[in-house]
C-alpha cells in the first residue's frame, strides 16, 4: 500500500483544524501511542491528533482521503490484538477526549454517548438511576467505542449478550469524511442491510464512531454470587453444560484455578475468601427479589454438589461480592505481573466443548514446556488462555508461541469454534482468521471494506486479509 507520508503542509492543515495544542508530531508523541496491550507490535504514528467533535473528525478524514494518508482511530489503547496501532504511520485519531455523556432518554431507555466515554463511567452513571448497561468486559477503563469496535462481551454475556446487542444506533464518519447515522433509538429495525451491526466489531476499519446510542434495561435489584470449589478443573468445567442445561439463567459463569487466585491475592494484597480447592466455578444470578434468586440458585447448588462440587459458597452482600469479584477483575493483570511477556488466545467454542478445550490447552504446557494460564467465561464458551514468555529468549519464545497457537487455533476449528470471542482480530490474529474462513468469506470481507473505504486508508492492515 502506497500511502502519502505526512509533511509540513499536512501538519499545518491539522493545526488549522484543531489548533497547535491538539496536534503532536514526532518526538512530541508519547511512546504509549506506538502500541496497545499487545506489546509485541510497536509503530509510531506520524501525527497524533486529539479530536473533540464529529466535525473535526470529518474534516480530517476528508483531508486524509483526498491525500491518501492512513488514519488509525484510537480510544484508551487497551486492546489486546494491535487493533489501534498505526501500522502504516499516518494520523492517529485520539478519540478519548470526546468523552461526554450526551443524553439519557428514559422514555426510550437509551443512553447517547460520545466515543471516548469509559465503560466504568457508563455503568456508574446509569446505575445511579436504577438502569443497567449489561456488557461487562474485564477492562473497565476501556472506551465505549473500543468496546463497540471489538464487540466486547464480558462476563454477563451468558444472560445478557454482548455489546452488539446493546448498540441501537451509531453516528459514523466514513473514510471519505461523510457523516452518516445508522440505526437509531428504534427497538426494531428491518430496513435494509444492518450497517450498524457491520460497524460493531469492525475494529475501526469501516468508519469512525463519533456517537453511539446504547440500549439500557432496568437494573436488577439483587445479585448473588456462588463460588463453587471442585477437586479439579475438569470436574469444574464439566459441570458448566449441566448448569446451562438446567435453564436457571445465570448471569455469569466463570472458572478459575487456585494458581490464578494466589497470583491475584499477591497482586492485590487482599486475601480471597476460599482457596482450599484446586479449581472453582464462579456463578452469579440476578433478579428482583431474594426469593426469586434463591429459587434459581438452589437448583444450581444441588446440581453442582451432584457433579462433585466440594461445597457451594454463597455471596449475597456487597462486601462479600467485592472480596470475590475484585480478585476476578485482577486476574489478567496478576498473570501479567508474574511473567516477562505474554500473548493470549481468546477463542470461543460451543459451550459443551469448553472442558475439552481447556484440558487440551493445559496439556500443551507439558508438550511445549511453557507456562500456560487460563481463566474465563466458562458460561459462554469464550476462553482467555495466556501463554507466558518467562525467561525464554526472543527466538525460542516466538517459535514456541507460534507452535502453541497453531495447536490451539486448529483445535478450536476442529471443535467448530471461532478465532476471537471478544478481543478481535487486529493484527495479531489475522493468520488464524485466514485459516478459519473460506476464500469466499474473505472475498465478502474485502468487498465490504472496499464499499466503506475505497482507498483503504482507515486503519489499514487490520482484520481483512488481502
Amino acid at each position: 500500500m502506497n500511502f502519502k507520508k505526512i509533511d509540513d503542509k499536512d501538519v499545518q492543515f491539522l493545526i488549522s483544524v484543531l489548533g497547535e495544542d491538539r496536534v503532536f508530531v514526532g518526538e512530541a508523541i508519547n511512546e504509549d501511542f506506538s502500541h496497545d496491550e499487545l506489546a509485541s507490535v510497536k509503530v509510531m504514528p506520524e501525527a497524533l491528533v486529539e479530536v473533540k467533535s464529529t466535525e473535526e473528525v470529518s474534516k480530517i478524514m476528508k483531508y486524509a482521503h483526498e491525500n491518501n494518508i492512513p488514519v488509525t482511530p484510537r480510544g484508551q489503547g487497551t486492546g489486546l490484538v494491535g487493533g489501534s496501532v498505526a501500522l502504516h504511520g499516518g494520523i492517529m485519531l485520539n478519540l478519548s477526549k470526546m468523552n461526554n455523556i450526551l443524553e439519557l432518554d428514559e422514555e426510550n431507555l437509551t443512553l447517547t454517548v460520545e466515543p471516548g466515554v469509559l465503560l466504568m463511567e457508563i455503568s456508574k452513571y446509569v446505575e445511579a438511576k436504577d438502569l443497567f448497561y449489561p456488557p461487562d468486559p474485564g477492562e473497565k477503563s476501556a472506551t465505549i467505542a473500543g468496546n463497540i469496535n471489538t464487540n466486547a462481551g464480558g462476563m454477563r454475556a451468558v444472560k445478557y449478550g454482548v455489546t452488539r446487542d446493546y448498540v441501537r444506533g451509531l453516528e459514523l464518519v466514513l473514510p471519505t469524511g461523510e457523516v452518516i447515522e445508522v440505526g437509531g433509538k428504534v427497538v426494531k429495525n428491518s430496513s435494509g442491510y444492518s450497517l450498524k451491526d457491520l460497524v460493531v466489531g469492525s475494529e475501526g476499519t469501516l468508519a469512525v464512531v463519533t456517537k453511539a446510542i446504547l440500549k439500557l434495561i432496568p437494573r436488577p435489584v439483587k445479585t448473588i454470587s456462588l463460588l463453587v470449589p471442585f477437586n479439579s478443573l475438569e470436574e469444574a468445567i464439566e459441570t458448566v453444560p449441566k448448569v446451562i442445561k438446567s435453564k436457571s439463567a445465570p448471569v455469569a459463569i466463570e472458572y478459575m484455578v487456585r494458581d490464578t487466585i494466589l497470583s491475584a491475592e499477591e497482586f492485590l494484597g487482599k486475601p480471597f475468601p476460599d482457596k482450599s480447592a484446586d479449581a472453582y466455578l464462579l456463578l452469579s444470578f440476578d433478579g428482583n427479589t431474594k426469593e426469586e434468586i434463591e429459587k434459581a440458585y438452589e437448583k444450581v447448588c444441588e446440581l453442582c454438589l451432584e457433579a462433585g462440587a466440594l461445597d457451594v459458597y454463597i455471596s449475597e452482600t456487597q462486601e462479600r461480592h467485592e472480596a470475590i469479584w475484585s480478585a476476578r477483575g485482577a486476574f489478567l493483570e496478576a498473570i501479567k505481573a508474574s511473567t516477562t511477556e505474554m500473548d493470549e488466545c481468546d477463542v470461543v467454542v460451543p459451550r459443551n466443548k469448553i472442558a475439552e478445550f481447556v484440558k487440551y490447552s493445559n496439556d500443551l504446557q507439558k508438550q511445549f514446556d511453557i507456562r500456560i494460564k487460563s481463566f474465563g467465561h466458562a458460561g459462554d464458551g469464550n476462553l482467555h488462555i495466556y501463554v507466558l514468555k518467562d525467561a525464554l529468549d526472543e527466538a525460542t519464545w516466538e517459535k514456541k508461541l507460534s507452535d502453541v497457537f497453531d495447536c490451539m487455533y486448529s483445535k478450536a476449528r476442529e471443535l467448530r469454534g471461532q478465532v476471537s470471542g471478544e478481543h478481535g482480530i487486529g493484527i495479531a490474529k489475522k493468520p488464524y482468521l485466514k485459516e478459519s474462513f473460506t476464500e469466499e468469506q474473505h472475498q465478502i470481507m474485502r468487498g465490504i471494506k472496499a464499499a466503506f473505504d475505497p482507498k483503504g486508508i482507515l486503519n489499514p492492515g487490520k482484520v481483512v486479509i488481502n
Binding site: P271, D274, D311, Y313, I314, E316, T317, E319
Partner: protein, 261 residues
Amino acid sequence: MEIVVCIKQVPGTTEVKVDEKGNLIRDGIDSKMNPYDLYAVETALKIKEEKGAKVNVITMGPPQSEAVLREAFMMGADDAYLLTDRKFAGADVLATSYALYQGVLKTGKPQLIICGKQTTDGDTAQVGPEMAEYLGIPHVANVKKIHEVKENSIVVEMDMPTTMEIVEVQFPCLVTVEKGIFQPRLPSYKRKKQTVNKEIVKFSLKDFEDQDEKQYGSSGSPTQVERIFPPDVNTDKEMWEGSGEELGDKLFKKLADLKFV
C-alpha cells in the same frame, strides 16, 4: 473453650434513615450482617479451627434478625441465641449492652467474647466495651491481629490512631475486632442444608436474671438521637515544650482562646 460472638443485623444499604424519634427505619429495606461482625465470626472460627472451641452467636433484635444467626450457622457457628422482646425495642447503647450482658450470661460460661469494632448503622463502637464493664471483665477494642491464644489468656494487637499495642489479657475477656483481621469465609450451602431446621434459642425479658423493665429498651436508654450527621474531622496537632508551669499557662490560654473555658 467457649466463645460468644455478638452480631447485629444492619440495613443492607449505606443510606441509613431515621424516624422522627431518631430510631433507625428498618422496614422494607434489605438487611445484612453488620460487616464488622463478619470479621468477629471469622476470628472465632479461626480460633475454633486452631484450638478447638464452641462458637456461639448472639444477637438482639426483632424476630427477622434470625437471618444473621442462620448466616453464622452457614459460616460454622455452633449455637445461636436471639434476644427478642418488644420491651427491648428502642434501646440505646447502654440498654443494648445491658440486654446483651444478660443474654450472654444465659449462654454458658464463655472465656472469650468477640464483637465487631462497631456497627455500620449506629457506628458508636461502645456496645462491646460497655458489655465488658457490665460483665466485670477486661476488654481490648480495635483488635487487628491475634498473636496467640494461650490456655488462660489471649495475646492481641490493638490498633490505636497513632500507636499499636500488643497486650495479653486473661480470660474471661472481651475483644472487638477490626476489619481485615481475617478474611471472612463465605456462607456454605452444605451448612445451610444441615442447619436449616437447627433451633435458635430465643430469650425474652422473662428469661433474664434481671427482669427490671427499666433497664431495657427505650425506658433503659438515657440517651436519645437528636440528629445524625457526619462529624467534622479535625486531626490538627500542636506540640509544645516547656516547664509544667509554662505549659499549664499555655494550655489555659489556648482553651480560653477557643472559648472552651
